[in-house]
Symmetry: C2
Subunit: 346 residues, 2 copies
């Protein structure tokens, strides 16, 4: 794929025109020579507006996500990588095996065709790595000044092959809260690039597909009670959402939450709390205390869980409060933030 | 629903803020008090990023569509109506029964909260009318000047309960080409509103959900060979796409293509050919000649097919050419246009 050149005549059309979204010949050309070239023909030939899929089971997960990240390209990925992995991860968090994605572009007139092709290649690479297929799509072009280069929507379908119910309502007193690695890389990578900040080494986004590491937990028989990927709002928001949905109290041990030194310095400089900074390849799992050591070993044995550790537990109290036991032993409430620290992070 | 007031405090937040897409409290508030209020709780309570669905069959149709129509509100509908019906119709064209939609908003900071609520109500109303459920969603806000009020993506899942293969490859010599009504209303309604043109009476968009009328054909035993809704590029583009995919020649009788008088005048004034103007509630069906009268009766008996008629047929020749027999009897090639007549029509 990477060696492939693009059969769409990029030199002839160095920028995306309004007509590339107009439903005529130019749009057909873009779809056939760039998108279909990258993603292959649709599953059932000749289909147009929708795709027919034969699923092996009746129980599926369905999700949608729009991506408006700025800038489009950042250390560790781009909007295409993000669009695939974000939706794959949303499906994975319910324990589904992601199979099919849709891909919808909203392009601003004037976007360089080379950028579009780079994103298409990233989508293809990320989809291949995650083992999902792009099966249907849509292309719209908006006039110059009415978009911001490129927005992408991906929706996804996954199949559920296990009998677990992986939802907040299922977390139990004493459940261990595990995380698969250090936090804050994605948010800081985006922010540093956007603001032109230079650190000693480049902080890369942690953007990746989590379906493999999640599958390793479930296949090993870990009775996962709840999972969530730590995107907008970071680990603090995810914990708050789950605790509130479950009406249970959760306690986090601050010292045990892994933060890379560079990320910590960047957060200090920019005034961010890493607990609220977005990630794109990190998730928390609530597992029964009795299985927590086993689960941790499984995570650590996976390339995307090498930095896994236990960061907290579910308390006996009700009420949905998340508390943080600080490094010096003090306890404070870890609340949800009102807005956001970093806009347009995904 | 229409009588319902919105529990989200619109007065307190008369405009959408960046923070309403930030993953924090404000976003949760908007989701819970506006979106969940309108669309109801997700099918399995407590789920976050994706929704778990139990399907009655294994064979499904899956589709995606982003909507960037300008203006957001137009005679006969708005971007919300369009976003539901567009995706419902894409599913219907493969003969699927649409069941579930995702709904993803990309909102420009500063959009009036009242407009958002109006769109949400339209989405709900259109979904109810089409018999589909909004089961998962996403909300992003982009900074002022980086969007255009509101873009919507809907993706959809439908189930296929029949044994037909409704694809271009299935059209046969002598198949009749039927249409369910007059053409060009949607495109002209948008354009007139956008350009501030006044006609004697207001031309309304034909935007509607076609699943009911399609179902009536299939349930009556009509062996539909191919269908397509006539959106961007109009009837001419749809015919060209099908003819090319099938490598068959199709002939259309110009005099038989219904165009409302007002729409025809508007097209003449603006220099548009109605055959290329977008529709949002019209489709063509290729049916066996032997069933064409029966199919036409079924269409005409349905409220959305009262203006149905036969507009052409499949010729014995190969090659994918669409020809038009003009009113005076001349034959000309009806080609695909290169770009578009009307940008941002859907």
């Amino acid at each position: 794929m990477h060696a492939l050149s693009c059969p769409f005549p990029i030199r002839q059309y160095p920028q995306v025109l309004l007509a590339h979204g107009g439903g005529g010949k130019l749009m057909q050309d873009l779809i056939n020579k760039m998108f279909t070239h990258a993603f292959g023909p649709r599953p059932e030939s000749g289909l147009h507006d929708s795709t027919v899929l034969d699923l092996p089971v009746h129980k599926i997960a369905f999700t949608t996500d729009s991506f408006v990240v700025k800038p489009l390209f950042f250390p560790g990925g781009d909007i295409g990588t993000l669009a695939v992995n974000g939706t794959v991860n949303d499906l994975s968090m319910s324990g589904a095996r992601p199979l099919y994605l849709s891909l919808s572009f909203i392009i601003e007139e004037g976007l360089s065709m080379e950028s579009l092709w780079m994103v298409v290649r990233s989508v293809k690479k990320a989809a291949d790595e995650a083992g999902v297929k792009i099966v249907t799509g849509d292309t719209k072009v908006v006039d110059r000044g009415k978009g911001d280069g490129l927005f992408i929507n991906t929706s996804g379908i996954g199949i559920i092959e296990h009998g677990l119910s992986i939802v907040p309502a299922n977390i139990r007193e004493d459940d261990a809260v595990l995380i698969n690695g250090d936090i804050g890389r994605h948010g800081i990578a985006i922010m540093a690039k956007r603001e032109g900040l230079d650190f000693e080494t480049t902080i890369e986004s942690d953007c990746c597909a989590l379906n493999g590491v999640v599958e390793s937990l479930i296949k090993a028989g870990i009775k996962v009670h709840c999972m969530r990927d730590l995107t907008r709002g970071g680990v603090a928001s995810a914990l708050n959402e789950i605790a509130k949905d479950a009406y249970k109290a959760v306690e986090i041990d601050e010292a045990s939450v892994p933060v890379d030194e560079q990320v910590a310095s960047a957060c200090a400089i920019m005034g961010f709390d890493p607990l609220y900074v977005a990630n794109e390849g990190r998730f928390i799992a609530f597992v029964p205390e009795s299985q927590s050591s086993n689960a941790l070993e499984i995570l650590q044995a996976h390339p995307l869980g090498r930095g896994a550790c236990r960061i907290g537990r579910v308390l006996p109290e009700n009420g949905g409060l998340v508390t943080l036991k600080s490094v010096i032993g003090a306890r404070r409430i870890l609340d949800m933030i009102s807005g956001e620290q970093l806009p347009r992070i995904c």
